[in-house]
């Protein structure tokens, strides 16, 4: 398998893993939580 195909496969694995993790985390939530990454006040969501 070529290196490029390996990179494509790894990228898809990371994407699937991350989205699976997010789905698992939000499975029981009603609305997405808005968190401030750099200390700034979070506005009211739309």
């Amino acid at each position: 398998m070529s290196r490029k195909l390996t990179v494509v496969l790894l990228s898809m694995l990371v994407l699937a893993g991350a989205m699976g993790l997010k789905t698992a985390v939000t499975a029981h939530g009603n609305s997405p939580a808005v968190l401030s990454a750099n200390g700034v006040p979070v506005p009211v969501p739309f």
Binding site: S11, L15, A18, M19, L21, V25, A37, G39, V44
Partner: protein, 232 residues
Amino acid sequence: MLGPADWVIWSLATLFEAAVVVCSLRKKVFRRYFFLNLYMLSSVCVSVGQYRVFMHYGRGSLEYRYFYFYSQALLVISLYFALISLYSRVFQELQVERYVRFGAVLLLAGTAWFSYAVVNQSSTRMLTHFVFELSQNLYFIGLVLTYALWGVILKLRETRALLVQLVLSLGVYFSAYAASYAVSNLRPDLFSHMVYLFPVIGCLLPLAWAYAIWRVPEEARIAPARLAVAPR
């Protein structure tokens, strides 16, 4: 209205972010960790911009909301490239930078496509929802990538102490985000109690980076045996 704690966290975060850039310039590693510094510099600029919009229009205004969500998305993309630059540094000796760049662009495009697919059903403010979804998804991509990078560091027996500290700080940051996000979704009643937790950890990331850049010399090495427990 913001309370004193909000102002303190906001000010400290901006101060620490500026400190990372100053420490990098003083230690002459600004160009070596350019994307990390670019993220910190962007974060300082965004904080200043958000302060101006916040003071002018107020927290509940449409202007502040748009500015907040769009600037956060740009920051997360900037953080993503900072993480990819750490990958490039770890894989530097293997001469695979071209593949790292290719994978990074592919992953970003894949995340954008996934985010679009999620918000496709929403007809109103689709672009704003897309931006919000993209930035959240990129945090989880960052989390998985950081853990994968840690695995690579252990496997390759990476010994550069500064690089190891930068990656570990990022790992703690992303893990805290995922944990806060999970608790907020699983126990919404606890959200008001832990609303300061993630912003405080957001302050600690630039503090940890500034400390590492200031105190750990670029040529410092750490024994691989201290990074992993080897089976006897």
